[in-house]
Structures are given as C-alpha cells and as structure tokens.
Amino acid sequence: MSDFILEMRNITKTFPGVKALDNVNLKVKKGEIHALVGENGAGKSTLMKVLSGVYPNGTYDGGIYFEGKECHFKDINQSEDVGIVIIHQELALSPFLSIAENIFLGNERQSRKIMNWQDTFSQSKKLLEQVGLKDSPETAVMNIGVGKQQLVEIAKALSKNVKLLILDEPTAALNETDSANLLKLLNELKKQGITSILISHKLNEVSSISDSITILRDGQTIETIETLGEKVPEDRIIKGMVGRELTSRFPKRVSNIGETIFEVKDWNVYHPQQRDRKVIDNVNIHIRRGEIVGLAGLMGAGRTELAMSIFGKTYGKKITGSLYKNGEEIKSDTVSEAITNGLAYVSEDRKTYGLNLIDDIKRNITLSNLKRISKNSIIDENKEVTEAQYLREKLNIKTPTLTQLAGNLSGGNQQKIVLSKWIFTEPDILILDEPTRGIDVGAKFEIYSQINELAAEGLAVLVISSELPEVLGLSDRIYVMNEGRITGELERGEADQESVMRYMTGSGGASRANSN
C-alpha cells in the first residue's frame, strides 16, 4: 500500500455535454517514472489538471490520495505545498527576468518583503547544478534556448521541494540532443527519490524510460503496463491507445476521383522565431479533383504549419519549395494570391482566425470575396443577402436572421459560417483544419455531409484532424505527419487506426527508414 506515492481513484470529470474523465484510476509508485499516454483528447491533461487543483475539489468525483492521505486541492498552491509540481507544455517563464528570478517567481527569497538577492542567486546556482545547467543564474530567460528553459522549469520545481514532478509533453519542442539530456535528467532525479509522471506522444521515449505506463482512451483507463526494466513494444502501447470501433458516424459516399489538381513539392519551412528550427521538412503531397485527403498527426507534428505556410505564407520563415495547380506552378505569397489561385483555408481556431465575432453573419460570409458581390468597389447589398441566404440554407445554419452577430451563435453554427465563407470564394482546393473541433455530434455529421458534397462537386479537399476516426471515416487517402515530415501515405483500404498511429508516433517501419 505504502508503495504508492499517488493514487487517483475513480476520477470522473464532466464538462457541459462531455464526459472528459470516466472513472479513471491512476496509481503511481514512489520513485518511478510513470508514463501517461493516449490520443489527443483522451483526457491526459484533464486528469493532470484535476490532480494539480486547476479544477478544484468538488468539480469532479473521486478521490486523490497523496502519500496515503486524502487530498482536497482547491488551487495549484495547495498541490504544490504537498510537493506536486506540474510543468506545462507551454512554459510559464517570464522572458525578461533572469533565470534566478524565474526559479523563485512567486516564491521569492526575502526577508521582510525585501528581496534577498544573495540567497536568490546562491540557491539558484545549486539548483542549476542539480539539473546540469551551466549558465549563470543572472542570464535572462529569453536568451537561452527552449531546452534550457525546460531545465529552468525543473529547477523551479526542485526549489519547491517537489516529490512528484509532472511533465506535460516536455520534449515536444526540443531537438534530439536536448530531449536525450532531459530524459537523462529524469533518471538522475529518480535516483534522488523524485517520482515523475511523463505525458508524451513520443512512444520510443516512453518505452525506453518508463517504469510503468498507463494508457488512457476516451476518458477511461485502459491498462497500466509494468515494464519491469524491459522495453515495451510500441505496438503494444498503440493497440491500447486506439482499440476503438468505428461507428457509422460518417455519411456514406461514393468517391469520384479525377486527375491531380494540386501538388506541393519539396516544401521546407522554418520556425518564425527560432530561426534554425525546421518545422516542415521536405514535404511532398498531391491532391486530386474530387478527392478527400486526410492529414493525420499528433499535436505539434506540423500539420497546421504546413497548411498555413501553403496558404499565402501565413506561417513560418525561409519557406522553400513549389506549388503546382493543374501542372502549372502557382504563387501563394499573400493570402489574396492564394485565394485568387483557388486555395481556401478554414482555420482550426474559428474565433481567433476565422470570424469577426462582432459583425453579422452575412458580412462574415462575404468578407473573403467581396468582389463577387460588388461592382466598382460598391457593394450590392441585395446580392449579398441572396448569396448569404443561399449558403445559409445549403449548410443549414441555424439562426433567426442573417443580421445576427456571429458571436451569438453556437460553435457548430459558427463553424458552418466559416465554411460558408470559404465556399463563397469558389475554391478548387479546400484545406480544413480541425473542422469539427468542439462541436456536437449532430453538427459534425452535417459538416461531414457538406465535405462529401463539396468533393462530389469536384473540389480537392485536405482535412487536418486530430481525431483518428474522423480521418479514417472521411478520407480517400491519408498522409501521416510526424515532426514535420510525411512519415506515411495510406490508401483508404489499407489504413486502420493502428497503422496510422504507428506512423504518427514515428515508429512506422519502412517509411521511417526512408525519411532518415
């Protein structure tokens, strides 16, 4: 019994309309590295938020026992007080402050409200040695790389006398050397008696370092594997992550595929801030008329980055490569050039990048192609209403009037407006980024039907989705991305959840050898 430093028993957490966690159990042994794996949306982050008190006691069901005592955390401070520290994927450091100041942020070394700089620096120095960081504690955090920032976060955790360290995708933004260093450090910390929970999509890391692995799927615990010092086969983990039945949530479709209409050749993109980090690595893809192509990948694989760099170079720096439409090279340096060339991109974040929430439905629909409803730059409002009305009926946007503000509508209806907006530009190639994120099942089905209909009209559709069933249910063909590269290409018949997941996690046999 006392073996376990942490037990989470029968945790259930419900959001309006969704059961994010359903009777989840997690037992972590003292002094081990415990990996937590699962698809996007399996409930990993939610579970960790419950544990750290981000979702306070009372907003979930079930019990948390830390070192044998039941805990009722009301906020993060309370969980940190007992020694549970979480390091989020997006690092929470203040870029202009020094390493030392960041380590003790919110926990300042002080005597009577006056900063004790000597203590701050000498103690930071010790902590930095512990995590193997050689930089001076006076360096500003913005001047060190992401890998080192990760170490600062760990030093910060150590300063709080951490007993259980939770790392959410710590290596997602790191290169291989930095990742290896970090994993080595976790092993060091283990020797010092610190327990870690590692959330990661990189299954090779997981299987090489963990003592036990808990798999979550659709908010439920599937199993906990004890590694006993052996390397667990990645296939075994993948099976646990995806073993789900495809239901008939997708409308039937007979595909009618024509010739190749759009090609992306030798596409390379660098990160806009970290100039030497390659985000897209030599990608070659093509789409045919009437074809729905899925683009699968885990978070951070570079799917959105690929789409946005193609769409008017709206993401990235030092973009190289070429785009072809109907065999002829086209330019897509600005959004309007992309639109003119028949490209359309429906963003994954409709509120930030898709809609003007304080404007009405019809104006949102027509915004990307005002030329179509204007003459000599003067807008024909009658025509605008007629066109918007047509799309409203076609996509079944549920609203009393077209003059309703976009911000007043539900997520599903907002998504339909964004889709209408891009259909209105009369594209040949439609890129949909997470087209059904955060909308209910009914609206999902309607959007799937619409996608099918557009393909039937001869459009080439590229669907980016983090939901494997969605990718499999919609696509004629699937590209899989991992760390900026296309790691696999699968036809409808040969793709199943396990094969796609294998490519997604970078353990996809043959093609992996090709890309190396």
């Binding site: 304080i358 027509t366 915004l367 005002l370 003067i378």
Partner: protein, 387 residues
C-alpha cells in the same frame, strides 16, 4: 408596447445617443430660457463646432480600425500656419493655397500611417509624437506669433452662406433644400423597408417607421426654418453634410468600408481572409490627415488668423465625440452618424454652457463627466447583454 421595448433594447446604442442629445438640448433649452434655439444662436452653434464634427468623421474611421489619432489638434494648427504663410506672407492665390494645405495634410497622414501600419509602432505613440512634432513646427513657422488677416475670399470657408434666391426676410433656398432632403429620407426609408420585407428580415411595425419619419422631418424642417429666418445655410454645414454622406456611403456600401470594419473587428481573421490590413490602416491615417487639414483651414478661416495655439486639445473633443457616439476602443464598432451625434452632444454643451455663463474650468470638468458616463452606460449595457 412590447415591440417598442424590444426595439429599444436591441438598438439601445443608437437610441441611447439620440436620447442623450435630446435630453442635453432640452436641459439647455430650459437653462438658457430658449436662447439656444434662437435662429442666430443655432447658426453660431454650427459655425463654432463645425470643425469638431469634421474631425469626428475622420477620427471614427481611425478608431474603428482599433487605432487612435492624438495629433489632429496640432495638425489643425500646422495646416492653418501653412495656409497663413502661403496666403498672407507669399500671396499665393487662395484656391491654390487651399489645395496645397490639403496635400500637406495628406503627407502628414502618409508619414504617420507609415510608422503605424508598416513599422508597427502603436498609433498612440506615433500620434503622440506627431502632436508634439506638428505643434513645434507650427511655432517655428509662425515664429511664435499670429498671422493675420487672411484674404477676404478665404472667409467663405467659415462664415459664408449659401446664396439666397432673391427674396428678403425668409431664405427660400434653405426651405427648398430641407423639403427635398425630407423627401429623399422618406423615400430611402420606405425603399429600405421594402428590401427588408423582401428578404424576410425583421421589420419594425409601420406606425413606428411613420412616427420616426414624422419626427425626423419635423426636426429637419423646423431647424431649416430657423436658419432661414437668419442667413440661411452656412457653408460649414454644407461641408459637414457632404462629408457625412460620402463617409456613411463608404463605410456602409463599399469594399473599403467593409475592410475597415473587418480590420478593427478581428485583424487576424481579416489577414487570413485576404485583406491587406496594413494598407487599410495606412490609408485610414492618410484620410485622417486630409480631414484634419480641412478642419485646419476651417479653423484658420474662422479666426481669420493663423495662431500657434490653434486647435489645442481639439483632438480630445473629436475622440470624445466618437466614443460618445458608440464606438469601441477595441475597434470594429462605430458609425459616422454616431460620431456626428456625439459631436453634436459636445457642441451643444460647449454652446449651452457658454450661454449660461459657466466658466471654462467647469465646462471641461462637465464634458469629462459626460464622456465618462456615456461610455460607462455603454459598457454597462454590453456587460448586461453578455450575461
């Protein structure tokens, strides 16, 4: 009755402003024992506040894009000084001097628009710098002194009136124009209503439309009658009226107008919709430079001199007018008509408080309170609607 309440709730922004204007005007009608509505005073009210209305029209565009322009007061002075130097010191013909002054305004807009749109410095900083730069240049140009008088024909800009049709006593042209305006408004309202019915939009009951038109027609014609009793329609009013029509049309019916609202409403989404938001912001500032130059000419013409202190704090009156008129600091919201009503609120207060002998000290304080309450009322309503 329920429809009226609903109508009011849904349009509380627009109606709120109009009600505020009516209340404030009514208050001063009582306090000044009716003097505020005397023909002579109504004419004065327009002549004194014309340039605030003009500035408000330019400013509302800037604020809809989510920016601000603090420099217009200084630009008013600087353009006045340019006009003075050209006409008074160098005997440049009036018309040519006017054109040159407007070009200077446009160049100032190009300068500020470049730093804001293409370099990416916040408009608050760039136009704060502009406020100092152009005030300084004005002092330099005028050597710290006033230049006067302007050629007589330049006075038309501020104190001219539309010519009469030959009769004495009543200014007939004014009456004719106001009747035509009323007819046009009635025609447009019914045409609009027909379109709305055609597309099954929610329409207000007919009796409300008729009541609204009756009130509007009454106010316009009564106002015109008062002006006709004096000297008729001032040129200033004609300028303001033309600006209102042009800019309302641009903002409502043109692609450019849509791009301005979209840029202010959600810049990222506008960028991803193919709108060149930098270019939009740039041209809005060029436009505001031109408008400020126009106001500068009107101001210099009214004073009949170019003075270093001209237009001091005028930018704040214009900004206040725009916010009282329902625009939002965050951008994406606001109308030309709203800004004009806001400008009229400021104008009526300036005029009314002067009439009842309130000192400049209390005038400032009271205007500040009105701005605070007007925007506070707006924020309160928005929060309540959000719940």
């Amino acid at each position: 009755m329920q429809t009226v309440i609903n109508l009011f709730r849904n349009n509380i922004r627009q109606y709120g402003m109009i009600i505020a204007l009516v209340l404030i005007t009514g208050l001063f009608w009582i306090l000044t024992e009716g003097i505020i509505f005397k023909p002579l005073n109504l004419t004065n009210l327009i002549l004194q506040n014309g340039f605030i209305l003009v500035l408000a029209v330019g400013m509302v565009l800037v604020i809809i894009t989510g920016n601000i322009d603090l420099s217009v007061g200084s630009v008013v002075a600087f353009v006045g000084a340019i006009a003075g130097v050209l006409m008074i010191n160098n005997n440049v013909p009036v018309l040519l001097a006017i054109v040159l002054s407007i070009i200077v305004g446009a160049l100032i807009g190009v300068w500020q628009g470049f730093w804001i749109a293409y370099v990416g410095i916040p408009s608050f900083i760039v136009t704060l710098a502009g406020m100092l730069i152009f005030r300084g240049l004005t002092l330099y140009l005028l050597d710290g002194q006033s230049l006067a008088p302007f050629p007589e024909s330049f006075g038309m800009f501020s104190s001219g009136f539309l010519p009469d049709l030959g009769s004495d006593g009543l200014h007939i042209l004014t009456i004719i124009l106001s009747v035509i305006l009323s007819l046009v408004l009635i025609y447009m309202e019914f045409k609009n209503r027909k379109t709305q019915l055609k597309y099954n939009f929610e329409v207000v009951p007919l009796w409300i439309t008729i009541t609204k038109l009756a009130l509007l027609t009454f106010v316009i014609n009564w106002f015109a009658y008062q002006l006709a009793l004096n000297k008729g329609i001032p040129i200033v009013l004609v300028i303001v009226f033309i600006l209102i029509i042009i800019y309302t049309f641009i903002m409502k019916n043109t692609v450019m107008g849509r791009h301005i609202y979209a840029t202010g409403g959600n810049k990222k989404a506008a960028d991803l919709s193919g709108i060149k938001t930098k270019r939009v912001v740039f041209w809005v500032f060029v436009n505001n430079g031109v408008i400020a130059a126009l106001a500068g000419l009107m101001f210099a013409s009214r004073l009949d001199s170019a003075t270093p202190a001209a237009g001091n704090m005028l930018e704040l009156d214009a900004i206040a007018a725009v916010f009282i008129g329902g625009a939002s600091m965050a951008g994406g919201v606001g109308t030309v008509i709203g800004a004009i009503i806001g400008g009229l609120v400021m104008g009526v207060m300036n005029n009314g408080m002067s009439l009842i002998g309130i000192g400049i000290d209390w005038q400032q304080a009271i205007k500040g309170m009105v701005l605070l309450l007007a925007v506070g009322f707006d924020v309160y309503n928005k929060n309540r609607a959000g719940k």
